[in-house]
Symmetry: C2
Subunit: 492 residues, 2 copies
């Protein structure tokens, strides 16, 4: 019932830590020898059990400083407080990644395709360049005429005319003749070289050539770049300025791409008021619909905030149903208030199978996932506490958005950094601490948790540039030890 999930490992790529599940974590050779059944939320360890789990009552308060978070209470009761199974981060993530849809490719104007992945093999119907042309300003000539030219003994050619870029009448030259050309102008037939203007006296009627480049120099030949039938942009290529340049060159105004997933962000909680309202005592401003919509856009989604769910059950159902109709994924913050199974959960349960679970992570163990409505749209529920909500977004939602975008790299890159101070973490939980990571002058990275070791709240989170990830089987990282750090680089 608890802690029995194994790591699915269905998706490749670098995850935020070694892919340990609880059993692996506790069974790890380096893990403390504490009983493996005693450290999981919902399992019944007596509070007096000797063990390495940091407990509020088992140590002096200062020893908790540096963790950046208050420790998680371990359970003391005789029975699990929740009926949902406990599962690992990996297992919950795998369930989400296996269930998110791959939205159908759509055709967009090339400029709107920027940042998305190409979903078609773009084959050029044209040759690029489309005609033999001058690569720079100069004189088109026959290489055999000019190969022996020097400053002391220039070769004189008769200039038969001038060709500029865009002129459509190809001309021809014979022995002893030259055509003045500008970069991009068609090469006259008979010419096999362009003599750069700066190697001549630039005469308009007769030109004295002071040096002759070898045949083929400063000439761009038809199809040198792309031949008809060549693939120009391939499936899965991210479309940036260079790809847009190439797409335009082969005549494409529109291109088939993996679309941005449409994500609706809603918040639930009887305590919530909209940001424009001054909260009464006990009320709290809805920050999550803003923060999560911003995070979803940053991850590449087309996110819209739907705001606070109405408190009336029928209207709440209508709002959620309408979001399911227009979205590829619905993100709900704040539905899980620990043991309280509230109206939101009731409404969701009526729309399909929605599972709420305790995930062995901190902050934010209360997570939910399901596929609701006629189209079985994935719905991810994250905690309402704003720090836990954004950590949950990083861990579960961002990889899902990247998968929907077709990206190969679902996870942020991580680096190993030296801990600037000791960090403690509850056994059996993967802990995410906001921190600031800096390059060390001697190479490598150093990381410090933000804040003074009490709760990592909003102002502190806003000063962080990374998440410190401490594995399930690690309870303490000494100052100077190595930890995994996930830099939170913003896109755009």
């Amino acid at each position: 019932m608890n802690g029995q999930d194994s790591t699915g490992g269905a998706f490749d790529g670098q995850r935020d830590t070694a892919q340990l599940d609880i059993r692996q974590g506790l069974g790890h050779p380096g893990a403390p020898a504490a009983g493996r059944d005693t450290q999981v939320v919902g399992a019944p360890p007596p509070p007096t059990a000797a063990g390495p789990v940091p407990r509020p009552q088992s140590g002096p308060l200062p020893s908790r400083r540096g963790a950046g978070e208050e420790p998680i209470p371990a359970a003391t009761g005789e029975r699990p407080p929740l009926s949902e199974p406990v599962r690992t981060v990996e297992r919950h993530l795998d369930e989400i990644l296996a269930a998110v849809p791959q939205p159908d490719p759509i055709e967009l104007a090339v400029l709107d395709a920027q940042g998305l992945l190409c979903a078609e093999e773009v084959v050029s119907q044209r040759a690029l360049p489309a005609f033999d042309q001058a690569a720079l300003d100069g004189y088109a000539a026959r290489s055999e005429d000019v190969v022996r030219a020097t400053v002391e003994a220039p070769v004189e050619l008769a200039v038969v005319g001038e060709s500029v870029a865009g002129a459509d009448a190809p001309s021809s030259i014979g022995p002893g003749l030259a055509l003045k050309v500008s970069a991009g102008a068609m090469l006259p037939s008979g010419a096999d070289v362009v003599v750069p203007a700066v190697w001549t006296d630039q005469g308009p009627v007769r030109v004295a050539v002071q040096a002759g480049p070898p045949a083929g120099s400063y000439v761009r030949r038809t199809g040198d770049d792309v031949a008809p039938g060549d693939p120009a942009v391939q499936i899965g290529t991210p479309i940036g300025p260079a790809q847009i340049s190439l797409l335009a060159a082969v005549g494409r105004e529109r291109v088939l791409v993996r679309p941005r997933p449409r994500i609706a962000v809603v918040c639930a909680g009887s305590e919530l008021v909209d940001v424009g309202t001054v909260p009464a005592p006990g009320q709290v401003v809805d920050v999550n619909s803003y923060a999560l919509a911003a995070a979803a856009r940053d991850a590449g989604a087309d996110a819209y905030r739907s705001g606070i769910l109405p408190s009336d059950k029928r209207r709440m159902t209508e709002v959620i149903e309408s979001q399911l109709l227009r979205s590829d994924l619905v993100l709900i913050a704040g539905t899980l208030s620990g043991s309280r199974f509230d109206m939101v959960q009731e409404v969701l349960a009526e729309l399909g199978q929605m599972r709420f679970r305790q995930v062995t992570m901190h902050p934010g163990p209360a997570q939910g996932f399901g596929r609701l409505g006629r189209d079985e749209v994935p719905v991810i529920c994250v905690p309402g506490e704003p720090v836990a909500a954004l950590v949950s977004f990083e861990v579960f939602v961002r990889p899902a958005i990247r998968l929907m975008l077709g990206k190969r790299q679902l996870f942020r890159r991580t680096v190993q950094a030296i801990a600037g101070q000791s960090l403690i973490s509850p056994l059996g939980y993967r802990q995410y601490l906001h921190g600031t990571v800096m390059r060390h002058p001697d190479g490598g990275y150093v990381v410090e948790p933000v804040g003074d070791g009490t709760e990592a709240l909003l102002a502190r989170m806003a000063r962080a540039n990374c998440l410190i990830v401490i594995d399930e089987d690690v309870t303490e990282v000494a100052a100077g030890g190595l930890v995994t750090v996930m830099p939170l680089l913003l896109g755009g």
Copy 2:
């Protein structure tokens, strides 16, 4: 007249190479001992001069492979072919950076502010949290009542009621009493601790507490996060999801930010046709207005493409004037066809002081900059050849956009990489080659130029992930030597 510019160095930050100007470059201890006046375009070295400049006629063709570009022709004439002064990359960049305006801050809805820099000191009028509250689900109690509780000897408390998040009536508790609370609920007066639900029997009327945390545990105190009068978000902070979370929490729906600069992209050239048109012989599809608009958006600008300039002089003037009115910067590709002073240059000259110059870079030595119209809007002219246009964008336009955005880091980060093959470069020019950079299995990076050593055209550029930057004073990098590499990471 030529090569006399010094590096302004007015702007800090990492540039793409060591900040060498021509004089420094040629005077560098490691530089070849060639005459310093002989290697600059427009200076009059005879083509037979012995020197290290790679010349088409001075070496066998295969020796040029690996450079990824055809070598630049050095001048042979007795006089400079252009009347404009020759200048360094640094000098041209400094002129642009000194002239770009700082658009006035604008107020945006917080979600639209994402990715921009905050332009005001946001001071919180509120305390966060606004009231003492439970940090998790459990029982609010007096720590002295529960401190000695154990599983064997639980402490029983009478539950006087329940408080959920959003409830506005603070209650109070006395000795021997507890209030059931959910996370975020107001703490009753008299309580100084929240006993996690999992440390109790979760009784609704009487609760058996099996462990008592120290005073203050699992309680969030008023103002712990932000006190009234505290700065919440400071000037110059990039606004991401965490900042949006904090702005919403302090009640801000809108925030003053540095706006995205509005950039108009136009293309000039009698050979150009729009992407929807099949080009006739001699004609070329306009790719630059697409590629440069995409690059400008990627850099953070609000870019719009105005397309190909009309060929009629009066209409051309009208189009440019209307772009000047609506833009913070106008970007024109293709106005400079070497020695040809065409109608575009004429029109620009009538609108203000526009200077065209030969910059000691390759590709793209023909560059222009001026401030035109009544408002002296900066206008940057880049070459029309698409590879040179995008290289020029990287070197001159992207830093200007980032400066207008208020970013401190104007330049892309560079890394040193091992050259996978030998590279040659013309003395006195900073050369930019498209390449692919990879991590070396033993650490560090390895870079290869794209393509087979002839012109770096569109299809090859689209396969590149970096620019290789070879300094002015370097003529050859041996295979295995170190070169500067600028990874072209896309934002978004």
